[in-house]
Amino acid sequence: MRQSPARKSSNTAVTTSLRDPNGHVCLVADRVIRIVKPTGLNDLKTFLDSPACAEFLERQKLVNTRFLDANAVAKVLEHEEVRRVYEQTPGAAIFEHERVAFLSFPYEWPAEMLHAAAELTIEMAQQLLADGLGMKDASPYNVLFKGPNPVFVDLLSFEPRVAGDPTWLPFAQFVRTFMLPLLVNKHFGISLAQILTTHRDGLEPEEVFSLLSPLQKFRRAFLTLVSIPVWLAARQGAEDAKIYQRRQLNDPAKARFILKRVLESARRKLAATAPRARRTSAWSDYMDHNNYSQDYFPQKQRFVSQVLCEQQPRRVLDVGCNTGYFSAIAARSGASVVAIDYDPVVVGQVWRQARAEQLDILPLVVNLARPTPSIGWRNAECASFLDRARGRFEAVLMLGVIHHLLVSERIPLAEIIKLTAELATDALVIEFVAPDDPMFRRIARGRDHLFSDLTKESFEATAVQYFDIVRCERLDQTNRWLYLMRKISNPRSEISNPKETLIECFEMQQ
């Protein structure tokens, strides 16, 4: 089960994983503690001692884990919530996992990342075979991302295999949670956010079958994953539970051969669900096709690079990252970047680049105007994006974004600035776009009168309630200004003359 906060106690320890019968995961002051019940302990130890585990750790495919000795346990038990859970679990053992920098959930991933998580899962299932081990489940919630790289985190998913068992029982879950959402996304354009936010256990073949035309039902992409299972299930009686009984062959070599072939077949089918590399969307070619001057992006790049060099933030949030141009600059400067955009196609492109160049960028499909909410049991199993992001970033980039929030989403400027003050602990790099900017007018679509009060001065007056303006620079041949702002510890009431707090301002020669 994943590390997601469910309940908060007064000393910030949080318990979760209420669904796992073999243990609980607690977040204790930035540490990830797993309390393992005796029923799951032997399986976990068997896995941790296996060659497969050692290889996964070496290749950084598995989260680092250590068993806590008595002294370390005593320290952890000082936290009330952990002690409460531990006392309710007689005979439990405590392990600590390495903390993944930023928690993310499958409904925030672009298709490329869900596919990568699926590849990791099936690769692990194949490698475990040689060590006589198997998986109890195959869900995207078992995987997190460290930057662009998937890492398996649910160590209670492993168990010794019955030697004569030729079936991979999590296969149906693998198909429902990985392959069918990817298939539906690829062929029908339905977003993973739409599917996985409301369908925790993915899509049933019957649900996909209902989307298919008569001809599509016989297409290779859908025949074995959707149509045949639906036809077979229809012939199966609802009361007949015989098919769920475990099967045992007398020949373990034959069982292993069969399982190996089934996993290879699943891997080939998974390859066919991979999202196409050259997808396009409304924003995918924004960097190449726009009306800006030749010096516009170089000037922005210089400004952002200079800020990153001076501030040296360890964690950066890039809001409205588009194809990740500035996220890459931040990552190359040594920061760990979370890059968000509402367009899954561009976020997928960011992931491909980050993976290829091994840049520490975690790209997520998040619309800041409607960020992912808390979902799950009691709306508490999977924390909202804002709860995970608040106060976690030394620097926030909001380049070419706020006019979209103002115009398309009708979010008041004061609210936008207030939210950025919650997200950033120190620096904010923000691009103010004046209402007479061509892009602003284009998206306003005749509603310019609604923004007659929006000026550079009113923007600054709002911003200085939460930030000091350190630097300001007008972008070449535009009505856009870039600002570097530093967060102040106590918000001010509205200031009439923001120039009192402005340190430097540059106007580019027109």
Partner: protein, 60 residues
Amino acid sequence: MMYADPGSGVLIWQILLALFFGATFSFSKLKTWALNRFRPAHKFERAEEAYAAKSGSKVE
């Protein structure tokens, strides 16, 4: 211990696949056995080589 819902249609399909792969495994084993059993020339040559190796002489 199984955690995940095994589904029904996908499970039946997997069982059918398993039967197919199981059949290919059995066929492969049968083919190997048959080749070993019904190729006496090879069998004789191997017996000759084994004898030669044991006695230290060369096979012509």
